[in-house]
């Protein structure tokens, strides 16, 4: 039970990261390949401030947010005027820098030995973990709600316009660089916040938690779920992390020798799924993009009409056939 709560909390962490990546890549078109960097930065910042400087969770979190906010802003300023390939490589480089510094700066992070123990903000006896899970659920729910709201706002339209054709958007008076910078800074900082919130979950932080595999897992969730749909990220995490890490690893009876293979098999399958999705279903499970309400209603009407006429024509042909048979 305790393990299930932990897995579900981790699932929420991935959902949060994937939703934020959806905003970055699915809406504005910023390919952030350093997700684990921002997440790990937030997580280690909370850990270091709490353990090494003996601050309370809340104080550590505030400092962590300031730090990731500042770094996201600086990185955004440096990279967001570049093309997509450069942004992708630059963010990846950033995440590797974070991972390397975590290993090398032992006086802060304890290096490969590991940093711990990180305390929960509030302890409620045996119910601490379940309560923390509910708290995470509330926050991630709020995030998903905001993104759903975002999709029907004026703001989303500008973001999609920038993704489609940045120069054209600028020629209509949209300050594209500023909008990209705001979105990038905000979402990367939120990735840091999610990292900070993951610190007490993990309790003991080691450098092998911030590996590119995490960035990759978030990307595959988004690609599989559908990068342009407001719910794609969430669906994608359930289909990958939920299926593998929770259902299979927790509930399937695996022998010890198989248990060693499963994590590698998982990453192999993730890779294969990502290749398959990009080649055969590039828009993911939920291919729809931003549909304004009027368009959505029309589409439903059209489908209903098509279905009705299909039924009518089938009935007609059946009647004709019956008539012909009788003659």
């Amino acid at each position: 039970m305790a393990y299930l709560i932990f897995s579900l909390s981790l699932l929420l962490v991935y959902v949060g990261l994937a939703i934020l990546l959806h905003v970055q890549f699915g809406l504005v078109g910023i390919p952030n390949f350093g997700v684990v960097g921002f997440w790990g930065l937030g997580m280690y910042a909370v850990g270091v401030f709490q353990v090494q400087f003996d601050l309370s969770f809340v104080d550590a979190m505030v400092l962590s947010i300031l730090l990731s906010g500042l770094l996201s802003y600086v990185l955004g300023r440096l990279l967001l005027r570049c093309d997509q390939q450069a942004i992708l490589c630059g963010t990846l480089a950033f995440s590797v820098i974070v991972a390397l510094l975590v290993i090398s700066e032992k006086w802060l992070t304890e290096g490969v030995v590991g940093l711990g123990t990180i305390r929960y903000p509030v302890r409620v006896g045996d119910l601490t973990e379940p309560f923390y899970f509910l708290f995470l659920l509330l926050l991630i729910g709020l995030l998903q709600y905001s993104v759903l709201k975002l999709h029907v706002s004026h703001y989303a339209r500008v973001l999609i316009a920038i993704r489609d054709n940045e120069e054209l958007a600028a020629s209509l008076g949209k300050d594209t660089f500023r909008i990209k910078l705001v979105v990038f800074t905000l979402t990367c900082t939120l990735m840091g916040v999610i990292g900070g919130l993951s610190a007490p979950l993990n309790q003991f932080l080691t450098p092998n938690m911030i590996v590119p595999g995490i960035t990759f897992a978030v990307w595959i969730s988004l690609a599989l779920g559908g990068k342009e749909h407001a719910l794609g990220a969430t669906i994608g995490v359930f289909a990958t992390f939920g299926l593998f890490d929770i259902l299979i690893e927790t509930y399937l009876p695996v022998t010890p020798e198989l248990a060693v293979v499963v994590p590698n098999l998982k990453l192999f399958v993730y890779g294969a799924v990502l290749v398959g999705v990009l080649m055969y279903r590039p828009r993911g499970l939920l291919p729809q993009q931003f549909l304004p309400p009027d368009r959505l209603v029309r589409q439903i009407d059209e489908r209903a009409m098509k279905a009705r006429s299909a039924v009518a024509s089938a009935a007609r042909s059946a009647r004709d056939r019956a008539k012909a048979w009788r003659l």
Binding site: G271, L274, L278, M279
Partner: protein
């Protein structure tokens, strides 16, 4: 003064696999215009193919280079024919192609782990002699590798800049339509380029392996620096890749001599981000 001499010597010695990888990577980047992260696995597989012939079948190290290199070339061609070419034909965009290559990279890497396990492995090195020259030491393997790689790099350089084939590749990279009209078969040329790039990447893996050790992550560790070097060099400049990778090797060696090796990579990556920034789109 001694520091600079040491840095240059060690840097050149250690950078030699990077030079190979960077040139191979650059060829594909030049021709198809996307960053192929799965090239890292070509490097890893090179080391493992060498391991197969060298350790499992007991061939000498230098002898096992030959079949391992050819197998890597075939692997690279296979990824092109069965993954990247169909994807490009389906109109997968450049960003998505990169993500696709990362997916392929994970698939190959963990497919390999499923077979071999994730433990470190070692190639059987030829007997080692130790030489001291101009005040610095090097082993015979390092020196031989250096000579061998210099020969390979020279040949590649010749191929790209001095032969008809190089001209065809450059024509194709610049304007596929025009090249097609003038009677070049893009398919044939692409297959050859991917084969050569695969061979070169495999060799890079084998030399990395013989200098240190072989494990499934070695390609991923090398590919980051390789991508950086190629991008800094400018899209598809083989000459630039050559210079940039040697420079990266020397810089790494210099920083490593002064402080920790981890800082070398941090500084290199930070410099890389600043280079990207300096190439940002100029705003009117």
């Amino acid at each position: 003064m001694g520091l600079i001499r040491d840095a240059i010597f060690i840097g050149v010695l250690q950078a030699s696999p990077l030079v190979l990888a960077a040139i191979g990577f650059t060829l594909i980047y030049y021709l198809n215009g996307f960053i192929n992260f799965a090239y890292g696995e070509t490097i890893t597989f090179g080391a493992y193919f060498a391991l197969l012939f060298n350790v499992s079948l007991g061939l000498g190290f230098y002898l096992s280079l030959i079949p391992a290199t050819l197998l890597c070339g075939l692997l690279s061609v296979a990824t092109y024919l069965y993954i990247f070419r169909p994807a490009i034909r389906k109109g997968v965009g450049p960003s998505e192609l990169i993500i696709l290559s990362v997916g392929l990279s994970f698939m190959l890497r963990y497919g390999l782990v499923l077979f071999t396990g994730a433990e470190n492995a070692f190639l059987n090195e030829p007997p080692i002699d130790y030489y001291r020259m101009i005040g610095v030491g090097a082993t015979n393997v390092q020196l031989l590798a250096l000579v061998l790689m210099a020969v390979i790099v020279f040949n590649l350089y010749w191929l790209i800049y001095r032969t008809g084939f190089g001209e065809v590749v450059r024509a194709l990279a610049n304007n596929e339509e025009l090249a097609r009209v003038s009677g070049i078969d893009p398919h044939k040329v692409s297959v050859r380029v991917w084969f050569i790039a695969g061979c070169v990447g495999g060799l890079a893996g084998m030399f990395t392996g013989v200098f240190a050790l072989v494990n499934p992550l070695m390609g991923w560790n090398l590919i980051l620096i390789t991508v950086m070097v190629s991008i800094v060099a400018g899209v598809g400049s083989v000459r630039g890749a050559l210079i940039a990778s040697v420079a990266a090797g020397i810089l790494t060696a210099a920083i490593t001599l002064v402080t920790k090796p981890l800082y070398a990579e941090v500084i290199l990556l930070s410099v890389f981000i600043l280079v990207l920034w300096s190439r940002r789109r100029r705003v009117a």
